[in-house]
């Protein structure tokens, strides 16, 4: 699966250490394509071999993340969540519960 995504939106970095809500397993993402570079999933060494001679800007995801955080002035602020208030569950297509959506605390 190819994830085509801008490295930041409205001055907010898109690549984070941990997402607020998990909507899909990361192991299914083979490549992340941003305007600042292309990051391959380390599990897909076969793709890396196929692209050995490419002029495409292959970069580690972490490197793109650091560059964007420098531009935007830091990592994205984590939302304040009330871990006791679940308002929705995220289910994968096979019914597995991937994550819970928690209520955002007042004043955030």
């Amino acid at each position: 699966m190819i994830l085509a995504i801008p490295s930041f939106r409205d001055r907010v970095p898109i690549i984070v250490d941990a997402v607020t809500t998990l909507c899909g397993p990361g192991e299914l993402i083979d490549v992340v394509v941003t305007e600042r570079g292309i990051a391959l999933n380390p599990r897909r060494q076969d793709l890396r071999r196929r692209l050995a001679k490419t002029s495409l800007p292959l970069r580690p995801l972490r490197e793109i993340q650091k560059e964007v955080e420098a531009i935007c002035g830091g990592a994205r602020a984590k939302p304040g969540l009330d871990k006791n208030k679940v308002i929705a569950a995220v289910k994968w297509v096979d019914g597995t519960v991937l994550d819970s959506v928690f209520r955002v605390v007042d004043g955030f």
């Binding site: 190819i2 085509a4 995504i5 394509v33 941003t34 305007e35 292309i38 490419t54 495409l56």
Partner: protein, 150 residues
């Protein structure tokens, strides 16, 4: 739908080509739209299925995505809609240079990684929350067609 969590009473399916028995596809006629993916599932699980088409063809309509045995009624209309409006709003091609660059990278990646083959399945997530993804992949899709023809 398979698990019965969602029950469909009536499915009205717009088909760019259909025969009188309800066999239908999305790849022929003046309103071609590609595979009738979601409609296919609807046709299998809805209590009543109505196929609406602006292109009634002689039996059999081949290839068929929708099978006539799942269809109760076929209705002929003058036009299904305006295809020019499909590419509008969040599905409009972006003019943003960095997002066009992402599209270019995606197209080149697919080409150079050698993953474009006969029978290649291309799926494009549609979401108003992620218009960028749509515009990027839409551009890439255009390139894929070109590459496939080349």
């Amino acid at each position: 739908m398979q698990d019965g969590e969602v029950h469909i009473d009536i499915a009205v399916i717009a088909a760019p080509a259909a025969d009188a028995f309800g066999n239908a596809n999305g790849v022929e006629g003046k309103s071609t739209c590609g595979p009738l993916g979601f409609a296919l599932v609807d046709s299998e699980y809805a209590d009543r299925v109505i196929v609406v088409t602006d292109n009634l063809v002689p039996f059999p309509c081949v290839p068929w995505h929708i099978q006539g045995q799942n269809v109760d009624y076929v209705v002929k209309v003058e036009t299904l809609g305006d295809p020019a409006k499909i590419v509008s709003g969040t599905t409009a091609l972006t003019k943003s240079p960095d997002r066009l660059l992402i599209a270019e990278y995606v197209a080149r990646f697919i080409d150079e990684a050698g993953i474009l083959q006969n029978g290649f399945s291309f799926s494009m997530p549609m979401s108003s929350r992620t218009p960028t993804v749509i515009s990027c992949t839409a551009s890439a899709a255009g390139r894929i067609v070109c590459l496939a023809n080349a």
